[in-house]
C-alpha cells in the first residue's frame, strides 16, 4: 500500500500530484498489477483533502488504463509503467547512494544536488545520450 502526500508549494494541482505519485510508484515497481490502492476515504483522511480530489485522480488513472475500480472491492492496479530496465534499478540505486554520500561529504545541500543532477541530465540528453 502506498501513502500519498501533497506539496503545498507545488504549482501542480492536487489531483495531478496524486496521479503523478501513483505513476512514480508504478515506474519504480513499488506498485505492481494486482495491488490495491488505498480507498478514497483513507486518502482523504490521511492527506486531509477533499475526497472529490482523490476521486478525480483515480478516475484519471483509470482513464489511462493504469488502475481499475472494482465495485465493493476497491481500486486495483492493472497496468505497469516499469520497463525492462526495472531489473537494473537496485544496482543503480546503490551506485547513486554512494554518489550522494560523496556529494554530501563535499558539502552539497539537497538543492545543490538536485540542480547539479538536473543540469547534467539536461546536458546529457542534449548530447544525444552519447
Amino acid at each position: 500500500m502506498i501513502g500519498f502526500r501533497l506539496d503545498g508549494r507545488s504549482n501542480v494541482v492536487p489531483y495531478l500530484q496524486l496521479v503523478e505519485q501513483v505513476r512514480q510508484a508504478l515506474r519504480t515497481g513499488l506498485l505492481e498489477p494486482g495491488d490495491r490502492l488505498p480507498t478514497v476515504r483513507e486518502v482523504a483522511e490521511s492527506v486531509s483533502i477533499n475526497p472529490n480530489t482523490v476521486l478525480k485522480a483515480y478516475r484519471q488513472l483509470e482513464h489511462e488504463g493504469l488502475v481499475e475500480g472494482r465495485p465493493g472491492q476497491g481500486t486495483f492496479v492493472v497496468g505497469s509503467l516499469a520497463g525492462p530496465s526495472l531489473a537494473s534499478h537496485a544496482a543503480l540505486r546503490r551506485e547513486l547512494r554512494a554518489w550522494l554520500r560523496k556529494a554530501h561529504t563535499a558539502g552539497l545541500e539537497p538543492e545543490d544536488i538536485e540542480a547539479l543532477f538536473g543540469t547534467t541530465l539536461h546536458a546529457f540528453e542534449a548530447e544525444g545520450a552519447a
Partner: protein, 294 residues
C-alpha cells in the same frame, strides 16, 4: 439537480443593522463550501438562516428545495455545529448521544456515533466539561453526523483548537464526506485550513456576497503578476495591488491562460492569496453570471 442550499435576495436585519443583504447564492450538492469573510460580514447569520434558527427579514432561503424551519422534514436533513461547539458541561458524552437519539428518533445512527467516538478514544462516561477542546469539537461533529444529514453546517468549528486537533478534526471530516452523500458549509478564519479541502467558495464582505464560485475555476482564472513599480497596468481586471518602492504585485482576474505581458511575470495563486486579495479590496467582486464580474 436541486441546490443543497439556495438563497435569493436573502437579507437579515437586527435592529438598524443589516447582518446580511441581498445574498443570492446556490451551493451545489456534494460540495464542501467555504464561507469566509471578516468578523461581522454575515457568516454566522447566513448559517443560522440556512439551518432555520433565524427567519429572513427579506428574501428566501431553501435547503434541498424546502424552506428550513417551516417543516421538520427539511430540518432532519441538516446537521449544525455552532461556534464554540456548545455542549452541556455537566452531561456526559453518553447523555448527549441519548438526547440526540430521543430528539431525532428513527433517523439517528447510534452505532456509528458510538463507533466514531470509540475510534477517537473519547470516553462515553466523561462529562463534556472535562473534555479537551478538540474532543468537544469531535463530539459536536459526531452528534451532527449521527442525524445522517444531507447538509452539514459548521460555524468556525476549529477556531479554538490547536494545530494538531484542527488537522485531526478536518481529516476526520474529509473521511466522513468520502463515505456519504454530504454537502458541507464550513466557515473559518484560517484560510490555510480550507485549502485543498473546500471546492466551493463564498466570500462575504460587509453583509454582502463578494465572491462566489468553484474553487478550481477561481484559481484558474486568477493569477499574481509581479513587475517593476512603473510598469503599465496589464489588461484584465485588477483585484488587488501592492507596491514596494521598486516592485508591484497584482492579483488579476484574466480568463485567458495567455503568457504575461512583459515586463510582468505571472505566478499561480493559492486559495489563501485569492481570499486575502479580495478581502483587502472590498470593492472588488466576482460572481457567476453572463458578465462574470459584478
Amino acid at each position: 439537480m436541486t441546490a443543497a442550499l439556495e438563497t435569493t435576495g436573502l437579507s437579515k436585519r437586527y435592529g438598524r443593522t443589516w447582518a446580511l443583504r441581498d445574498c443570492t447564492l446556490a451551493v451545489p450538492q456534494g460540495r464542501v463550501a467555504a464561507v469566509v469573510g471578516p468578523n461581522g460580514a454575515g457568516k454566522t447569520t447566513l448559517m443560522r438562516l440556512a439551518v432555520g434558527l433565524r427567519r429572513p427579514t427579506r428574501g428566501s432561503v431553501s435547503v434541498f428545495g424546502r424552506t428550513p424551519r417551516d417543516d421538520a422534514a427539511s430540518l432532519a436533513r441538516v446537521g449544525f455545529v455552532a461556534q464554540e461547539t456548545p455542549l452541556y458541561r455537566d452531561l456526559t458524552v453518553a447523555d448527549h448521544l441519548e438526547m440526540g437519539r430521543r430528539l431525532n428518533g428513527v433517523g439517528w445512527d447510534q452505532p456509528s456515533a458510538a463507533e466514531r467516538l470509540g475510534k477517537l478514544s473519547i470516553p462515553l462516561d466523561r462529562r463534556a466539561g472535562e473534555l479537551s477542546g478538540g474532543q468537544r469539537a469531535q463530539v459536536a461533529l459526531t452528534i451532527a453526523l449521527a442525524k445522517r444529514p444531507d447538509l452539514l453546517v459548521l460555524d468556525e468549528p476549529v477556531a479554538s483548537l490547536d494545530p494538531l486537533a484542527r488537522r485531526t478534526f478536518l481529516s476526520e471530516l474529509m473521511g466522513e464526506i468520502a463515505t456519504r452523500e454530504l454537502t458541507v458549509l464550513l466557515s473559518s478564519h484560517l484560510i490555510a485550513d480550507l485549502e485543498h479541502r473546500c471546492d466551493y467558495l463564498v466570500i462575504l464582505s460587509d453583509a454582502r456576497v463578494q465572491v462566489l464560485g468553484d474553487v478550481e475555476e477561481l484559481l484558474a482564472s486568477h493569477r499574481a503578476l509581479v513587475g517593476p513599480v512603473d510598469a503599465p497596468s496589464p489588461n484584465g481586471s485588477i483585484v488587488s495591488s501592492h507596491s514596494t518602492d521598486r516592485q508591484r504585485t497584482l492579483v488579476v482576474r484574466s480568463e485567458a491562460r495567455s503568457p504575461a505581458p512583459p515586463p510582468w511575470a505571472a505566478q499561480p495563486i493559492s486559495l489563501e492569496d485569492l481570499v486575502l486579495a479580495y478581502l483587502s479590496e472590498p470593492g472588488a467582486g466576482t460572481l457567476p453570471g453572463p458578465e462574470g464580474t459584478a
